[in-house]
Amino acid sequence: MRLKAIYGEADSSTLQHIGVWLPARGETIYCMNRRHFLKRWLRAVATVGTTAVTGVAPLLRTANAGNDALDLATLTAVADTIVPGDEAPGAVDAGVVSMLVSSIERDPRARKHYALGLVELNRYTLETVKKKFPDLDPETRARVLSDLTTGAWWRRAAAYRMIALARNHVLVLFYSSPAAYQMLDYTAPRFGYLKDRETTSNSGIRDG
């Protein structure tokens, strides 16, 4: 099943090129090339930038606006489950949530999927463990996200889609943030790496 290819056991040490699932018109789910999918969304993100965090004001305004309101507490809990803090900061500490909200507000289609998916996620946890998602402990949250993206995922397709989107969005925002760069001891290429390059002679290889 395709889903397992994407959301294989978190512990299985399998790296692979993944496709990203997106709902197409007519509610069919299909696989798109990762690069192709990200391009559209990146345009929305690019306008946000690392520093230009616009905060949660737009979100709060729409919180009372009707059925498509975003639930900030649940979204934050989802982001925290996707990249939790350990000895290094997680998504929430890195400021991912406010950037995520800003970019969602710029992408009506994504916004719809988030709004519906967050509602369904809480409905699911209320049914199964009698609590809303943000009130669960980290282990249970992780198990819930796994459950909703494997097995009979189609029964809760809205939650599934939201998680699929959130996983990729949170990863893009977190792993391009200063917190992640520091964690990985990574310097942005705009500064060049010429100075760090080891300058050992090539001759050993050339004459080999």
């Binding site: 391009k39 990146l42 996707i82 760069y181 990574y186 942005a188 090539n202």
Partner: protein
């Protein structure tokens, strides 16, 4: 509406057009250079100018091109399911019925596809020009290495090519304009493995100068070649030939100008080029015309031009126009090592193995093949690419990204494709947004091509294993994934007008003031080497020929 008098109109500003324009302007001629795309500013337009560069979309449009009707290639041979691209340790699923859709990977912009190339600057070996007589591959070139050598030298100087002489698989030569780049950690590791196998990994020859050239900084090892060099360090054509041509004061560069037709006179000579610019249809006239739109668009323009006088297309007396299309026969093995290699640093393709480049008529790869190592062209580059490609989420995911970041490289093989008439570009009934007929690309692999794939997969796998790669993440093969970066051959060069489209100097048979200076004229593909330097050298040679004729 007419344009001021020019000596030459050059269409397309990539590897061929840029160097043709340079050759002509330096010889004292006024040139109008038409480029369909915009001019990019490396200081602002490329994703890597941003610290969070992976959030920024690529400026180059490499997506499905609306001017080429995506075409499903010929059926795959289900018996060769082992050649099918696959991810991870999973076995290939099942042979799809067809090859993947043909997406034409090129860049529209001043500098053309050199804006995203990784700077490989290879002279073809001398035997590569005698492919038919040396190893029974296609036909021989009408010219040999010696005729091209001075132009290779000139092109290398303009580009500041970094390299190391002494490659026994290439004709003897002098020193390179700049010293070879130092090898990356990955290449040293894989170089040691190659030694164990009796192979030699050599530093690549790159248009990524190791010293400052023409006031530009040397290569900064950012690994960002494919999204546009933000340092002006990569010797793409906009930074080299076009800058030099502009300094002569004889170049008029018109961007966002798309040539849509050629007009001819009663003698069959070209009398003007019709192009779209600023929403208007315009006509440019000159004494000569040079086409450099690439191996898909050049035959397209010729095929659709002047239906009255040339019902088969201009220069198609032989019926060869648009035929003999060659892609790359290529294999790319993406592997992960246990140790951190900082694979995101350095020239992307800093080393190659030429031991198999010499064609072996009895061997599995009759066309010759070259193996290479790449740190950043595996699809794994910055942190985001690693994070997205690592499955799952949560703490285990985070730990995995931390452990694996910078440890994925690709080991690839490239062989030249057998030029065959049935691999071709042909017009369709469908029109693009500007009302121009789209083309359909037919491209399949011959039995020889498939044998080359097979041999390259075996060699790449052996090298990866010997180097101690921990995991094979993906294997991609041109068996099912069209490799449309180095397309060539659709306006073949030859002496016999019945067998070719252009003569030995790039002059189109039957149209005495029309020349082609791009990959379309390549007769064969140089036994696995990259084509840009040969395109550039040929363009300089064609420009010298035109200059001589214009003077007399």
């Amino acid at each position: 509406m007419g344009d001021a008098a020019y000596d030459a109109v050059v269409i397309g500003s990539g590897a061929g057009g840029g160097f043709a324009a340079l050759g002509l302007t330096e010889a004292g001629f006024k040139v109008l250079l038409l480029e369909r795309g915009p001019r990019f500013d490396p200081a602002t337009d490329y994703p890597m100018v941003h610290e969070d560069w992976e959030r920024h979309p690529n400026s180059f449009r490499i997506a499905p091109d609306p001017t080429v009707e995506p075409h499903i290639g010929p059926p795959l041979d289900p018996a060769r399911i082992d050649l099918l691209s696959r991810n991870g340790p999973a076995p290939p699923s099942r042979a799809r019925e067809n090859r993947g859709l043909f997406y034409y990977r090129r860049v529209l912009g001043v500098g053309g596809t050199t804006l995203h190339y990784q700077g490989e600057a290879h002279r073809f070996a001398d035997y590569a020009f005698r492919a038919a007589s040396a190893y029974g591959h296609g036909v021989d070139w009408p010219i040999g290495y010696r005729e091209l050598e001075p132009y290779y030298e000139r092109a290398e100087r303009i580009l500041g090519v970094a390299g190391e002489p002494g490659n026994p698989h290439k004709p003897p030569r002098g020193s390179f304009p700049t010293p070879a780049q130092s090898l990356s950690r990955a290449s040293r590791l894989i170089g040691a493995a190659a030694r164990k196998l009796g192979w030699t990994l050599r530093t690549n020859t790159l248009a990524l100068p190791s010293l400052s050239v023409d006031g530009r900084p040397p290569c900064q090892h950012s690994g960002g070649c494919t999204t546009g060099c933000i340092f002006n360090a990569k010797s793409s054509v906009d930074q080299t030939a076009i800058r030099l041509a502009e300094r002569t004061g004889r170049l008029t560069l018109r961007t966002r100008a798309r040539a849509v037709a050629l007009e001819t006179d009663a003698r069959g000579s070209v009398s003007g080029v019709v192009y779209l610019h600023g929403g208007a249809r315009r006509l440019a006239r000159a004494r000569v015309y040079v086409l450099a739109l690439g191996a898909i668009e050049t035959p397209r323009l010729l095929l659709l031009s002047d239906a009255n006088r040339h019902p088969q297309g201009i220069g198609n007396h032989s019926g060869q126009l648009g035929r003999n299309l060659m892609e790359n026969v290529s294999v790319n093995l993406v592997v992960r090592f246990a140790q951190p290699l900082q694979a995101y640093k350095g020239p992307p393709i800093d080393a190659r193995i030429w031991d198999f480049a010499h064609p072996d008529p009895q061997g599995s790869v009759q066309s010759g093949c070259v193996l290479g190592v790449s740190g950043t062209s595996s699809g794994f580059h910055g942190p985001v690419s690693y994070a997205l490609a690592t499955t799952g989420f949560g703490l285990a995911h985070k730990r995995a990204v931390r452990n694996r970041f910078g440890s994925v490289v690709s080991i690839f093989g490239v062989a030249e494709q057998e030029p065959r008439a049935e691999n071709r570009v042909a017009l369709t009934e469908r029109l693009d947004a500007d009302g121009i007929p789209m083309v359909r690309v037919h491209s399949g692999h011959s039995a020889k091509d498939v044998a080359a794939l097979s041999a390259m997969i075996a060699r790449c796998t052996r090298l990866a294993k010997t180097a101690g790669a921990e995991q094979t993440i993906a294997m991609r093969s041109s068996y099912d994934r069209v490799s449309a970066t180095h397309v060539a051959g659709t306006c073949r060069m030859g002496r016999d007008p019945d067998m070719s489209v252009v003569g030995p100097h790039g002059q189109v048979h039957g149209a005495d003031n029309l020349y082609i200076a791009d990959a379309s004229v390549l007769v064969t593909q140089g036994a696995g080497d990259s084509p840009s330097l040969t395109i550039q050298a040929l363009a300089l040679r064609t420009a010298a020929f035109i200059a001589q004729r214009l003077r007399t």
